[in-house]
Assembly symmetry: C2
Homo-oligomer: 206 residues x 2
């Protein structure tokens, strides 16, 4: 009868949440894992922050490890959505799609990434090669690399493989350096570097 005696903080964060418990848990777990680290967040804290309880969490997720993997999979789905938007905005224009992505990671994505890349952090926290999250991480990064190579190739840029790998490493380095040095370190020059890279690999002859 009486309303739940939850703290205001939780009530407020819960107010911004809706949908079935599973979605709420997933959403809040992603946020907590990213901001506080995976090991530092207990399942009780996740359930409480999601406005539910541990039992419901375990009814939807087999274990904490599987929850971790599903959180990363949700990130993957989100990023794939962004890619689809780029493809829709520049149909048949590989260079346009590439620039969209470069702007996306270089300007937008780096701003709100004080804790770096969620996948890299997860890999750092989960050394076990058999952890279910590892599959998601490895596959996501490989797929990203593959997409970049394909796009550089379609765009007719010279040495597309090498160019794509350069972009990949620069972006990875930028996101991790935000966590170690800070956002005003080398990462702040990422957009400039990426633009320079594309210019360097532009087809010269013909």
């Amino acid at each position: 009868m009486h309303s739940q005696p939850v703290a205001e903080k939780e009530a407020a964060s819960k107010a911004a949440l809706d949908g079935p418990p599973r979605e709420r848990i997933l959403k809040v777990a992603r946020d907590l894992f990213y901001r506080q680290g995976i090991h530092a967040v207990g399942v009780d804290a996740i359930a409480a922050a999601a406005g539910t309880n541990k039992m419901t969490l375990y009814r939807h997720f087999g274990s904490k490890d599987e929850l971790i993997a599903e959180c990363l999979a949700a990130y993957v789905a989100e990023l794939e959505g962004a890619w689809n938007e780029f493809a829709k905005k520049h149909p048949g224009d590989a260079l346009g799609q590439l620039h969209s992505w470069l702007r996306y990671v270089g300007e937008f994505k780096l701003q709100q990434a004080e804790r770096g890349c969620a996948f890299i952090n997860a890999a750092a926290e989960l050394p076990d090669k058999n952890h279910p999250a590892r599959r998601v991480i490895e596959q996501h990064k490989s797929e990203l690399r593959r997409k970049l190579i394909a796009l550089c190739d379609e765009a007719g840029l010279v040495e597309p493989d090498l160019l794509a790998d350069k972009m990949f490493l620069l972006c990875e380095g930028a996101r991790t350096s935000i966590q170690s040095i800070g956002p005003n370190g080398p990462a702040s020059r990422l957009p400039q570097m990426l633009d320079g890279l594309v210019a360097d690999h532009a087809p010269r002859k013909s």
Copy 2:
């Protein structure tokens, strides 16, 4: 009286260790933290692997957090030793020192870094900005960046700041990508990229 009933594995690893307990603890803690992750390793395991016990560990280190910070500081000292060797091998030759370092990270250091960069992993595992290890991490990465910029500048390369930051990000990305994609991913091309970078920024005129 009776020799310690340690397992053969520990006895073997202990055989390779000598010196006072403090050194042994530091050495073995660095290895365990790096390979298994910080949260995954307990102080008991560290003490046992070092052929000693928890009490002795706490007599030498105020807490696990301070031990973590000291482990990273030991890494810093080791890397500074490498830098000093480069300077000794190429006195007054900034470009030679730079190439030594590029070869060091590009060929040697990446081979045995399956778990990526110890500093980045530590940062990922320790989100608390006030953790004693954070100071070590931030200072080390900033100092590395500073050294690179100074070296590129002394070597007379064009746009030394931008070049140094490119190198920095590429190296950071390479080490982290080893953990996510693997050593046969983009990281395998790091030496090629670094050499290309230096060539691109070589002084053209005069």
